[in-house]
């Protein structure tokens, strides 16, 4: 089941969603912020936006704050959904 992060009002009414879907382009671990036909990928390891387009500045600060506040929950959900690509499996783990 896809995970949907509850967001504070009025963000949902304005069409904002934060999800981990069951089938994502799963490299690297991330949540997807959606609004209408735009989507931003926010990396759970580095806590940064993965893409320059669309512009991360268009995402309300309250959403990033909520993601960071719920980071443990999001990481647990990612690990449960993608056990083959866990958050803690960092680039250097195999050394």
């Amino acid at each position: 089941m896809a995970f949907r992060l509850p967001l504070p009002d009025p963000l949902p009414a304005r069409g904002w969603k934060v999800k981990i879907r069951d089938l994502e382009r799963n490299e690297p671990p991330h949540v997807t912020i959606l609004r209408k036909q735009r989507a931003w990928r926010f990396a759970l390891r580095t806590r940064t936006f993965l893409d320059e387009v669309p512009d991360p500045k268009d995402v309300p600060e309250e959403i990033v704050t909520e993601i960071l506040r719920q980071l443990d929950v999001l990481c647990r959900e990612w690990d449960a959904m993608y056990p083959e690509n866990p958050i803690e499996s960092r680039e250097d783990d195999d050394d």
Binding site: M1, A2, D22, L23, N26, L34, K36, D94
Partner: protein, 260 residues
């Protein structure tokens, strides 16, 4: 997207009024547009407009693609299938985005990388998805891997999130993930964006390995440490037996790895 988009029907009270496309109102205008453009997208809003289109178009150029928003008779559908390369229309089992989302996706420059709907072929275990450019993409049911907490339910298929999510009951798949794996052109567009971050062989290997859900330790006789070094570009780009081992484990040809 440079292809023209033509609209037929009364759009005044419809979400499609926002489209900046040409609204065609006469047989002559339809005929002229159909003949002049080698390929275009067409949206027909209502039965009157469908009648206009059916009576106006006579030709053999089948690169045009059509979105109908009203049901058509079997005979008329056959006619339209003869005149258009793709006909997307409401029918039993066909699921489309809500009109407001449909209009926004069709109007988006990235429409080809969004889905507007689809239909489940349960007998052949395939999902036919319609894209915003009105092309089709066929996805085998088996492609949607079950997750520890969710299994795809094809009886509950819908496209949501303005064409960015394929919903199969509680199971959701991103349009990007589907297109990245199944459409080389879409993958190229996404890769062009990612190349800005990491254009190396190692970067491509890392993306493909993660997409396949394969661990670095799964490339025997190569060690996980060796694979990690290749991904980080700390050693020369592999060739020969090493490259063949990597490609075989990933299920692609050696020369395809860098396209990921």
């Amino acid at each position: 997207m440079t292809e023209p988009l033509f609209l037929l029907g009364d759009a005044r009270s419809s979400p499609f009024r926002r489209l900046g496309s040409d609204v065609l109102r006469s047989i002559d205008a339809v005929r002229e547009a159909y003949a002049r453009h080698g390929r275009a997208r067409w949206i027909v809003l209502d039965a009157d407009a469908l009648g206009l289109l059916a009576s106006a178009v006579h030709g053999h150029d089948r690169w045009h693609r059509l979105l109908l928003l009203e049901r058509a008779s079997t005979a008329r559908r056959e006619l339209l299938h003869a005149l258009f390369r793709v006909v997307v229309a409401p029918d039993d089992g066909v699921s489309l985005l809500p009109p407001e989302e449909l209009a926004e996706v069709m109007d988006d420059e990235g429409a080809e990388d969004r889905f507007i709907g689809g239909v489940v072929d349960a007998d052949d275990r395939a999902l036919v998805l319609y894209r915003g450019n009105l092309d089709r993409l066929v996805v085998p049911h088996a492609w949607f891997k079950a997750r520890p907490k969710a299994r795809p339910d094809f009886a509950a298929f819908a496209v949501t999130d303005y064409g960015q999510t394929v919903q199969l009951g509680d199971y959701e798949a991103s349009a990007d993930a589907i297109l990245y794996d199944l459409d080389p052109d879409a993958r190229r567009r996404m890769k062009e964006r990612e190349i800005k971050r990491d254009a190396s062989f190692g970067g491509a290997l890392r993306r493909l390995r993660s997409a396949r859900g394969i661990a670095r330790s799964d490339f025997a006789p190569l060690s996980a440490k060796t694979v990690a070094r290749i991904e980080r570009g700390e050693v020369d780009e592999p060739h020969g037996d090493t490259l063949a081992t990597i490609a075989k484990r990933l299920g692609v040809k050696p020369e395809q790895i860098k396209s990921y």
